[in-house]
């Protein structure tokens, strides 16, 4: 049911003064059956991501893959150079002198894993994002200072402007705002 208000409206946003109030509100919204919700806070709050239904964090796996790629790539880079591409016989010592390859293998493991962590973080979080509707709320600039926000998005199947507003009012927020798209 795509009514015009729904297209113009990104969602309804509630402002809270404390992290505890936001956490409680997020849990109630989730219990109420809302699924498309997001919470915004000026610092990380333990349990908040779980409260709005976040389950699977894929970042550690991405970093693991990065580390393995760096480790194998780093070793075989040196193996390839010294054994296959440009073998030099120095006093009859083995070409694959692997203990001497460990420092660079180690450094490249760290390097690729760290790059994976950084870019993984950006990609999974969808950053950089030059535009986002939540910034249309004037009070939202306090989300990076001392206020805590909960947004129930209009694309939630359970969303309906009046009903959701009534529900948010029952959470006793500091303020309620309509988020324009």
């Amino acid at each position: 049911m795509a009514t015009p208000t729904r297209i113009l409206l990104y969602g309804l946003m509630a402002e809270f003064a404390t992290p505890e109030a936001l956490l409680a509100a997020a849990e109630r919204a989730r219990a109420e059956g809302y699924r498309r919700i997001d919470a915004y806070s000026p610092f990380p709050i333990e349990g908040l991501a779980e409260a709005i239904g976040f389950r699977k964090n894929r970042l550690p796996f991405i970093v693991l893959i990065g580390g393995i790629v760096g480790c194998l790539g780093g070793f075989f880079l040196q193996y390839w150079v010294h054994v296959l591409y440009y073998p030099i016989n120095i006093g009859g010592r083995p070409l694959n002198s692997w203990p001497m390859f460990i420092p660079i293998t180690f450094e490249l493991t760290i390097l690729i894993a760290a790059l994976a962590a950084f870019f993984g973080l950006l990609v999974l979080n969808g950053l950089p994002m030059p535009y986002h509707p939540v910034f249309n709320v004037e009070r939202f600039e306090l989300a990076t200072r001392n206020r805590f926000f909960l947004c129930i998005e209009a694309r939630d199947v359970k969303f309906d402007v009046d009903g959701t507003r009534r529900f948010i009012e029952s959470l006793h927020p500091y303020g309620i705002y309509e988020v324009e798209n």
């Binding site: 992290p19 997020a26 997001d38 919470a39 915004y40 806070s41 000026p42 610092f43 990380p44 709050i45 908040l48 991501a49 409260a51 709005i52 976040f54 964090n57 970042l59 550690p60 970093v63 880079l77 040196q78 150079v81 010294h82 591409y85 440009y86 002198s97 001497m100 390859f101 420092p103 660079i104 180690f106 450094e107 490249l108 760290i110 390097l111 894993a113 760290a114 790059l115 962590a117 950084f118 993984g120 973080l121 950006l122 999974l124 979080n125 950053l127 950089p128 994002m129 030059p130 535009y131 986002h132 939540v134 910034f135 939202f140 600039e141 306090l142 989300a143 990076t144 200072r145 001392n146």
Partner: protein, 457 residues
Amino acid sequence: MADEVDKILASEEIAPVIEPGHTYASITDKISAIVLTRPTPMLWYVGFGISFVFVLILLFAVSYLLTKGVGIWGINIPVAWGFAIVNFVWWIGIGHAGTLISAILLLLRQKWRNSINRFAEAMTIFAVMCAGLFPLLHLGRPWYFYWLFPYPSTMDIQPQFRSPLVWDVFAVSTYFTVSLLFWYVGLIPDLATLRDRARKRFPRFAYGMLAMGWRGSAVHWHRYETASLLLAGLATPLVVSVHTVVSFDFTIGLVPGWHSTIFPPYFVAGAIYSGFAMVLTLAIPLRKMYGLEDFITLRHLKNMGEVMLATGLIVAYGYMMEGFVSWYSGSPFERYLMFYRMHGAYRYMFWALLLFNIVIPQALWILRVRTSPLALFIIAICVNVGMWLERYVIVVVSLSRDFMPSAWGMYSGTIWDYAVFAGTIGLFLALMFVFVRLLPMISIFEMRGLLHEESEK
């Protein structure tokens, strides 16, 4: 003063890492105002101006070096590694405290790190930048530095990966990259704060671009914390490996005074020692200049003094073992080198290094010294000087006296050596000044989180 010390003594466990009376808003406003609204202190202009003069000296000295070659330095054969390598090791060691504070203390959940990690990390990045200059310029033809990397070369040759000097290239460039990423990840939420607090158009735009649209979503925070922990976990072994690899530059060689197994741990401890000294050297004037005593409390200074004392003792053990092993080895060359260090032409440096690194810092055993910013500042400066002398003794004295007396030689730095060294100190300080002017020097969001944790108690 006595009352204050007694108070800290009495409340050893509850000494605050943040002074009472602050709210999320007051923390945010106070730290972001330094960048956004407060007038730049006069001292800033003076400090930046003086540092910038030294940056110009650096540019001049490097330009002259590029036209004339490394012959303008004091290096010769046998002492082919002079100031360049001494300064390289010194700078890279200084950087290590930043990573230690940001990564290792994060993993150990030391809450007091929160107000000093940001500028300690900045210090790491700037110190590594200064460090990197030296081996680069020491190459003689720095424009061919890329020969050290494996790339599809038309000359059909590749770097020798079994060489510690190539390990150095990989260790230092990895260290710089990872430190930069870690620092930037830490900055993103604070850049968003500055974006939202800035009232002028250009700062809003600039901080907005750098913050990349950060909006503090719970899911983003969750991944963010995972990424921070993972980066900390990666940076921790990295920082140990970097100075280990730097020490391999020496220990893999056969030169008496270099060929030793104590070097890796003793270099790492020395790095942390000098790094904490530099953090104190910077933190004490900064907190005074910007009135940040609420956030960088006496507790922080005391803790850093304790880390310095502990790492200083490890370094002292290193010196002791160097002396013992050179005697116990029975090698006449090793024995002679130790004798020459103590009694030869460079003896003043050796005894000064023992004074600055071992004797003076013992004052840190006294609580009153550990809680006095002035005393800590003086000790930190002594340690900075002492650690530089240590590297000088290791690099220069060992090379000047190797196996054959016919190959002995003397070394002293020329005016150009001093110009480049002083220039990098200027570059480091100038970058620090720019940093405290443009970016929040204390992590705002971590301070908010800290306040939340403290208020929950």
